[in-house]
Symmetry: C2
Subunit: 180 residues, 2 copies
Amino acid sequence: MESAGFLDETVALLERTPKTVAALLDGLPEGWLDTPDTAAGGWTPRDVVGHLISAELANWIPRAELVVAKGTSEPFDSFDRFAHVERDAGKSVEELVEWFGSLRNQNLARLQELVQSDADLDRRGLHPQLGEVTLRQLLSAWTVHDLDHVQQIYSSLAGSRDVAVGPFKIFLGILTRRDG
Amino acid sequence: MESAGFLDETVALLERTPKTVAALLDGLPEGWLDTPDTAAGGWTPRDVVGHLISAELANWIPRAELVVAKGTSEPFDSFDRFAHVERDAGKSVEELVEWFGSLRNQNLARLQELVQSDADLDRRGLHPQLGEVTLRQLLSAWTVHDLDHVQQIYSSLAGSRDVAVGPFKIFLGILTRRDG
């Protein structure tokens, strides 16, 4: 894989996520938004955006900075997957989407400072469960984590029409997969 | 379920789909776009948008019109899930996304002509495999079909980073689910 291409592709995906989430969720009627995702911990779309915010605050860029500053001499901090629950109580989904976009913009600016050359992508850090990982793997995981959690929002939205589709459900894998 | 709310909610979701797909795919580098989705027939994002176009042309609104015009006296036409393959050869993903958005706008205008009252949502038609279905079920299936296929685009995008994430893959359900 050509590394300049890799970084450009990574940024292209990461900068799209807040825009796609805003295009989907801003102003969407409440009737769509209150069904938890059964397949992945029972989160609503609001919880998922909160979790994406947590990862902007405490996961990807802090870990990339640690790779650059310390290499494998110091493991990454563990990441709290439930930090959003208390922190985001009372915030609207639109507020959360806007906050996520703002954090993402700051973090993409920081990323471009941290990665100056192809060789930087091969730098290694120490993941507390996975052991040694490269910066390229960390950045790839950042993009796929976005895709995974936006996909989770779609499962949750579909769940709110699980009964309403009636007999069509057998053709709709997004619903049958929710049943396990 | 309150029916005016149902129609408003349905339109709110349906009008968002072309916008979210455009926000995600327009200008996204080719390196993201060439991996087929393993879980659902091997489609790339371009194929999925083509299939959504086919459904705008030949599925939802033609069926809703048949419900209103003929009730259960005439079954819906079968729907060709592969109509896009020849039709869309040579078209860019951006052209397809734009076409989809244009068809969707026309179809939402037609929908508002077809459904004038709550009672219309209980009208019945005859599905060739499923038997009698209500207009409310058909419109619910239209929204969930959108969600299902946008979710499929996300699986395909993630697939293009299946190797690059390295050891992080075990935390990324969108990738482990691709392996069956």
